[in-house]
Subunit: 372 residues, 2 copies
């Protein structure tokens, strides 16, 4: 069910078959460098989240710039990256079920593998999988520091899970996962600052409780593209997990930035083609719900003032042409900024890398569809 | 980038790896039969839309029950179905660009291929592709009968395109495409009835204008799962294109039905697993935005009163447990009804077909990701 690449190396940008996922390599590299430089010298490691790109070529670009490894969200994603040669993967999720845990343990024969737990009841099964495979698996306790998703409460409940991990053969307790997903898209810098201050407080309390019980807690990991500077400077987090910073999207661009906050540029686009111009006010492109995730809003039209993306159906995108806008013609290419990068990337088998007017690379989205 | 199947034939339903796309075969077959029987004997043909399932096994189940062929939305979808042996495909979309038209014409060597046009400017290019491949391509004029997407205005503008098609070597003018997408999800039966009455009027006016100019207009095609009985009984439509009726989804289930309207049952589910139960009020499943399209609303939890799907992040689904609901346990399976079937199916490489408690088949979603 894999699709053919939409372009070949050396093609002109205008010849990319559409819809296609296209990354501006100059911008991507600036984003990669900006994050690498901003973390270098700080007391934190960078472990970018690979759920955003699902692409080993980009993971290696991150690792070459100093990342200690990557995060994944599913065992299937970890399998794709380990198969490509990544040697340190933290699965930032609870993994349930014998077959998934068996696959996870298998990966630990080739790479350093970490996973989360937030319930004593599941710790034994992870240990059994590790012992059966003859490996050790790093386990971190997921702590709910404000996201209200998975995670134990801070303090004593987290300690109880840490103790269970520490006494289970085959497992190594590594620390706590304190990711505040809900803080990433708070629009006001001050709201994000407060949320991460609270999260850091919960993380600190929890680390202290664990260490007071005589268990080392070397890692406190978390952070995303919206807040990573706050965790970096928190003096409690030891590892940052941003993912979207490499690409950005319309939703992240809606965050207001603090004066001292780094700005990442939009590198990711969906290239679409106008296929119908029924009226002066309306043009239809060949990219709809199956080419663009709309959970965080519709895409933005890039570089064509007077055009806006008004509606998405399965395979159609309806553009409105403003009274003072230039109506596009059938066959015209259109650049769209996805509303949300991660689930949009997951719709494509290939990322087309362009530099200037030429296609420089076509990267497989190796973990596309790796849901399990 | 294709994923391994989540189950094997003969597996117990409880052993399906999750998240997985699962169809209840008994229900699917009842839906297939209901539509086939409702069209049999009527003066209309059934050409179901394959963009909903992207699965040749289901296309053949439709054709075996009397469908004259299928609809596709993209050339890549048509390629997948022709490769699987389907011999009559209408691409219900405008196709732009030399390489796509070349691929379309190539398919016409093996199957009857139709496509839409809504602008005189594109007709010549379709003809050139047909001539270059030594084939004929059926072309229908897309008429905007109320959807305000693609399509010429009814009457004279459609006639002008029909005349261009009729005089272009390599092309056969087949009729008009009069699909009213906007009517499908109007909640009140009377609103849908009025919308399709207007659409049928526009279709009739247009067909008369074309025939008055001496061009035969044998086909008037359109209709979807929300309105197909209205088009069937319109005495102007000759062909129906419903897609979702085989699966249904939460959004279609929100349509109020007219007293005489057939009811299709929910056959399509996403099977998920509870991976975390942080509080009595909250449980987290392993299916989020990459497992469920949310453009038409969040999924519904099936068969577990007191549980509701409250929020989706990339790979997490947050369930709320009502005060009188039974809290699920880690490892429990959960059945979810997708908000919108078509883009949800496109997230999966496999459809697991179950009958009772057993997996009976695992079908490839052959046109998954066929965006181009």
């Amino acid at each position: 069910m894999s699709q053919q690449p939409p372009a070949r190396v050396g093609d002109a940008v205008g010849d990319i078959d559409t819809p296609a996922l296209v990354v501006d390599l100059d911008v991507l590299e600036r984003n990669l460098d900006l994050m690498a430089n901003a973390v270098r010298g700080a007391a934190v490691a960078l472990r970018p989240h690979a759920k955003s790109h699902k692409c080993p070529d980009i993971a290696f670009a991150q690792i070459e710039r100093g990342a200690v490894g990557i995060c994944c969200q599913k065992v299937g994603e970890a399998e794709a990256f380990v198969a490509a040669g990544v040697r340190d993967v933290l699965v930032t999720n609870e993994i349930v079920g014998t077959s998934k845990l068996r696959r996870l343990a298998e990966l630990a024969k080739e790479a350093t593998i970490g996973v989360l737990a937030d319930d004593i009841a599941v710790v034994g099964a992870i240990g059994e999988a590790a012992m059966a495979a003859g490996v050790t698996i790093d386990v971190l306790v997921e702590v709910d520091v404000g996201a209200k998703r998975c995670g134990t409460l801070p303090g004593a409940p987290a300690l109880a899970v840490a103790q269970a991990i520490a006494r289970t053969a085959g497992l190594v307790f590594r620390g706590i996962h304190a990711y505040h997903g809900g803080a990433q898209h708070l629009r006001a810098p001050e709201a994000r600052r407060l949320a991460i201050a609270r999260a850091a407080g919960f993380a600190s309390t929890t680390k202290e409780a664990i260490e007071a019980a005589g268990i080392a807690c070397p890692t406190v990991t978390g952070a995303g593209t919206g807040t990573w500077q706050l965790e970096r400077d928190s003096e409690i987090y030891t590892e940052l997990q941003p993912g979207s910073y490499i690409f950005m999207d319309a939703d992240y661009q809606r965050n207001a930035l603090a004066p001292d906050q780094h700005h990442f540029e939009q590198s990711l686009f969906v290239r679409a083609t106008v296929m119908s111009t029924p009226t002066r006010e309306r043009a239809i492109v060949d990219a709809g719900l199956k080419a663009l995730a709309v959970d965080s809003g519709l895409p933005l039209v890039y570089g064509m003032p007077g055009l806006s993306f008004e509606q998405a159906s399965d395979e159609h995108g309806t553009l409105a042409v403003a009274a003072d806008g230039q109506p596009p013609r059938i066959g015209d290419g259109v650049w769209l900024i996805p509303g949300h990068c991660d689930p949009t990337v997951n719709l494509y088998d290939w990322i087309v890398g362009v530099r200037g007017e030429r296609v420089e690379c076509v990267w497989p989205v190796a973990a596309r569809g790796a849901l399990r």
